[in-house]
Symmetry: D4
Subunit: 249 residues, 8 copies
């Protein structure tokens, strides 16, 4: 449950606007709500500052709608990741004000304007054009979580002067997300230039010995620059989430 909403509810009880019995009703699922196929963790926004995010891949549109409706009554924002266009369409038929981002395969519902609470700027860099979908997932997640986010795409190491052209943007970011497939070398190079935390996101772009992103992943884990930590292959969402946690400190 969004902390702001919870505070409002308690104030309404305090000033007699809402009867305690009615408030209780709304709070009884505060921790967990069991809807058969899911235990929705309503306590998460209190505990972690952001509500549960729905992983869309193996869920039906009916399941997604069911979970979203329960969450929308308590939260200000609901994200669905890894949802394809067809499934998203079915969801939007039921929840009209949700918005689908085709390039990032993400669905966002916001109960109002998202306030910027992150302190610095999060910069998302992609090595190639093909890495853009993952970079966009990171971008949208970080923005939905209340951050200023910027992005630079297609500045990989084969023509490293392209990267150096953005020296100012790179040095002024508070947290950097660097997305790369194939040999995954870009996070090392970027991290060597700054004194800020860098989150490496390997992508499955490539063929043959790229092993669906494993080479990029292992490459980043072996970065000779020490200010790099890594998330799962194609996990733009996780990178945006982790960057937000850092940017709130």
């Amino acid at each position: 449950m969004h902390p702001e909403r919870l505070k409002n509810l308690l104030q309404s009880v305090a000033c007699g606007e809402i009867a305690p019995e009615k408030a209780l009703d709304s709070l009884k699922h505060l921790t967990v709500e069991d809807i058969g196929y899911a235990h929705i963790d309503h306590h998460r926004s209190l505990r972690k500052g952001f509500p549960e995010v729905i992983y869309g891949e193996n869920k039906t549109s009916v399941q997604i709608i069911g979970i979203m409706e329960k969450m929308m009554s308590r939260e200000n924002i609901v994200l669905v990741t890894r949802i394809d266009a067809a499934k998203a369409k079915l969801v939007m038929d039921a929840i009209a004000d949700a918005r689908y981002y085709n390039d990032a395969r993400m669905l966002v519902w916001a109960g109002g304007e998202i306030l910027v609470t992150g302190k610095g700027t999060i910069l998302v860099i992609s090595a190639g054009t093909s890495d853009i979908p993952v970079a966009r997932e990171a971008f949208l997640t970080a923005r939905a979580m209340g951050n200023n986010v910027k992005s630079i795409f297609d500045v990989g190491v084969a023509g490293i002067h392209r990267l150096f052209a953005y020296k100012d943007e790179i040095e002024s970011a508070a947290v950097l997300i660097v997305v790369a497939g194939m040999e995954g070398a870009l996070p090392s190079v970027v991290a060597g230039l700054v004194d800020k935390p860098v989150i490496g996101v390997p992508t499955s772009v490539g063929y043959g010995a790229s092993f669906g992103g494993l080479t990029a992943l292992f490459s980043m884990l072996n970065s000779c620059s020490s200010n790099v930590a890594v998330v799962n292959i194609d996990n733009g969402f996780g990178a945006g989430y982790m960057a937000s946690m850092i940017n709130r400190l």
Copy 2:
């Protein structure tokens, strides 16, 4: 070169204490110093806020001493990681005021007191007793980089109430480093409790299908908690470094 040292040098020149020619001499290797087997990156502390760290594994004691001596004239702190006791003894014969931490296989030379510049507390948690060496490497690195650091050891998921006993310490940390071998489940559980960034460090503790830490690594990359990013197996140093970068923001 340590920024403080550089500032002092320039002030001495400004007030005529040091002749510009002499200052020049000291600055001509500011960027890179080539000593044959190494190109020491003296610019790193200016650029990244912390000097190069010496990876001890494949270097001889003579090489390590050579690099340390060049760095000690310019930096306030020098770290050597992955150095065994025998090699460390040879180094300390030459550099008497270096200190060796046997449990973390680390050598630290400090030119003076280390000031705490990190904002919050970094908490290092280990799943088992066998994970302590890696946890200690993270601990010592973060402390050498100017942070308040605390640690809790042996609170893995087989008896999860052991972890919950430290709820306050966990919730009050600014950044958490969670070290675990075998199934590597602890970072997920810890990250599920807090709204702070968690750095997972897989260790090579285990046998059979632990694959020298790969299972713990992959487990952490698949964490169902999103505020987890991961460093290489047994890379306590990298976790401490990354946590410091975050804690400085």
Copy 3:
């Protein structure tokens, strides 16, 4: 051949209701019946307490019907696993009283009511909503084999209080089946709470470094709780079968 049926047959012979020659006919395939593309092991229900189960994946509907018809004349229950909806429909056109469970991709034919012969309760727990199909396969198998079975879905470690809400159900189960994909941490946590055998079932839910379930599998094999044994990825059937064997002791 179902022991009960065999006993009836022998009693009928004993009291003269059936001529020995006729009984012989029915018994001559007692051990193995060769139908060209399969050697049906009719002896299995005598030897193992449950008849052969048909693995539907690489068989045609004609082959499945052929094997089922031979078995239905001798057994009280016939299971087909890993059979998709289209193939199941063709089978049910021929065998009307078979029932298809879409969520578990399983087909069940029962010659009568299934008696509960298992002693305690088998509890099936899934970490996520996406793991439900595998959990259901385990559930249906255990129930078909004569057990009381209960289930709790979507209580993974990212919000561990969801699990603790079911402390009583967990502690009162005789055997536990814990189904999880991604990092596969749930069986360790559950096994740490009980003094009962836990069967871990890794699922292929996840992406990137989940390797189609391998990470969850290896994670469970490295469980720091010792009362965990593991079956193949997505093998809900095997878990239900193994749990039944244990629950009969």
Copy 4:
């Protein structure tokens, strides 16, 4: 803490033999005792019916002795696994009545006679002579946990009549532990003969494409007999523990 010991303590308080203050002292570490390098989980024998077992591999003899001494004051039995002869000797110098089993690399301390509480017989079968150490670890664990245990060694599938010679022992066991390296085929064959749970233990015996036990592990996970669940490579201890849990039901 051993339930029997706890009951005695409480009775002594009840009948005035021990002052409540003194009892409190002994109970204050009931849940967890922090000795710096370890959090001993004294609650485990209450919760799981058997105390924590010490994994000896990455611990010093001093650490092992420290943990054992804390446990011996509260438990009736303490096991140390994966401890080599040299380290075991150092431990026995401090704890004279501990006993070392060289073939299984295990150290056992018992505060008194071990009562048989398991209901049936646990049978440990090894495929080859080289698999005996792992089989012995399973045997000793199951016996220490209060079971009747029998063993048959070197009856692998290359001469399958050797196995059939033990048909009676196999059919009369309540739980079977089958230990095999190389192609790991024995658990499938044994499980095909019985209606009891079989725990497969792959061993690292073999060379080349045996991959240190991985081939045996995967082979067992793919068993065409369904009453097989598997533990980690060379994990005789885990198999003995799991079998005990089953045999207590």
Copy 5:
């Protein structure tokens, strides 16, 4: 070129039936014929006793027809492996007397009756019903190469008495081909019963930790019976070919 055909040609020249110039024409491609996308190795039947076999997977029907037509003028038999039904239909439209075996995905053209030249009987055994396609490929290859071949299907180790029922067939075979997926245990068991060479063929039948046949492959390579050699996963053709080479000695 088939040796018989070559002998006839030379005899015709010897007795003046064919002019040397014309014979030369027919012999000039004796070794290799370059048709652009393929170098047909016409020398192979002289050198190896059997003509080249066409691997159908990555070839177009036009390429297959082209190669077949060149070969049919010189050989008595032409095999195409791994050709799907659609592509086979196109080929048969051009080459009417070719015959397609759907279960083995094989196309066979024979210029006349195939004489049995192999000395003993080749026995093909499959572990499961799902392994039949691969077993059939081995069967058809061995038969096309002039052998007496028999087969037994679905006699895997989960019910090992099914296998023993065929003791006579097994003991009287000269060469055995044993086809198995999943844990791939059957070749070890069969080889333990006989003093004849056994060719193990792993299949890709299975899921999860069967890794598309790798587990069966590695299992067979680790066979504790020494009279087993192995071919590639699903390579029924290679097994039939190798068995024929052995059976001709």
Copy 6:
């Protein structure tokens, strides 16, 4: 930017044909041009002697057309690799004079005749008919980069006399590209015959233990002939590019 074009531009400025302001306009994107989804590296043909090549796999036809149009105004040749026929058709609807090579999945646009600047002949050899698409990609790339290129297809090691028939072509080549799938043995054999550099290209042709080309890749990396270096699986383009670099020396 093509060096010739740049020289012409500068000469036109020198002789007053083009006003400096206008020239400036054309040069301002000399290094990098940002079109949102791509940073086109126009400096590459000056720096590396050949313009950027467009990797078609994860790009839309709109993106490809956009990049091509920017490049065509500055370069003499533009290549698109890994583009399927459908996408190529859409591109050719916009850029009429581009030519698609179906067998190599490559699109080539040339602003004029391609001059031969490579010194010797590049010879492309394929082991099988199925390897031709990759061999053709290497062939077309090397030709587009200004080389004399020859090719020999289907001369693998199963009939090694086919290879020896081309001894003269092999010995007279300046650089050799050897393309092979399955066991990938051909580069070793070819490299053993010549004193020239050999570029091995593993292909994904094969099944089972060919692992999509990994076996061929590792085989080539282990070549017992030392004049072999290797590119990624199916990377005909890279082999052609590398050979061109060598052939220009």
Copy 7:
């Protein structure tokens, strides 16, 4: 038990030389003899034509001597494989007439002259000098099993004319064993020259991407020559055994 010995015993009984009771004594362990750490399969020489072979790797010298002594009373030949020089010395102290072959790490005891019963010649070929130990193990095994064996060493594909110099030996062999590490290409080339079965033996010779022999193994499994079957890495013994089985037909 050696068939010859068994026949002699039965004849002695028949003609009254040995009392039936005494004969019985000698036959009662005919099938299996249990000596605690091993079940010796005395039936094997009757069933498979050659007695059990002792795998020396994980056995103590005492265990090896114990098993040998039991076997020597019944068999004409006893082999121990993978036994190092130190352990072999201890065995020969007890069994004086055993002979150790240092290059193949093999110990052979023969009760008399070994008769040649194999029909053709077995030819063992090694690719390199480093592969000789494995080749020698194959050679000695095949010779001990009663075959004419020849060998050619160090004729790998880097200088393929070395191989062709032995064309006659290669073409006149009945069975060929080809031993190769690194890229493992030799079996394909040899098999392409003959119409006989070829057994490929990959060795662990190599480094880096040779993966301890895996590359050679997979290479051989993908052989484009079809008359190749493969045994485990470094398994010279298995190759010699399999070749003997073939050569007896």
Copy 8:
């Protein structure tokens, strides 16, 4: 045999200095010389321009001396790679004028001065200090093969300005060898700067997810710069050899 030596011999025959019979004697092993454990390929220097190189790893010092002595009578230079100091000492006791390079584990014997025949300069770059041994092996090989060779060590991507300081050396090299462990990113960056062939050499430097050099290897194979080809892990020799072949064109 060195071409120069062969020419001299033939001239001596031509002018009557050496009798044809004696010359014949020296030429009869021109192609291959069989010394039991090796077939020395004396033809190699004629065919490939450089004699066989002795791989020292699995050979005894006696074998190495034997092969060297045979080669020294015919060649001007003999290299032994992967030979440790102890073995090298034994060889130098027999062959006094051989020279051992401890850092590269290489032994070189030269019959006279080595002439520079390579056309341009070969530049060897290493990413770290720990990569120097492999870089030195490449350096020494290329120099022994008659090339001008230069080297730059420890200029990895963590401080990329170190690399740019050597822009002139990099741009003026004809062939570049780039040696890197860990994430293996340096070859991509270097190749992006030049229009020359780059040979990537992955090293086994690193830990955890560096997999003994596999990550660096795969990273280089996925290089987004196309003028990179790769040799085996730690194969400095192969890189030097390949570079020499290129530099001779």
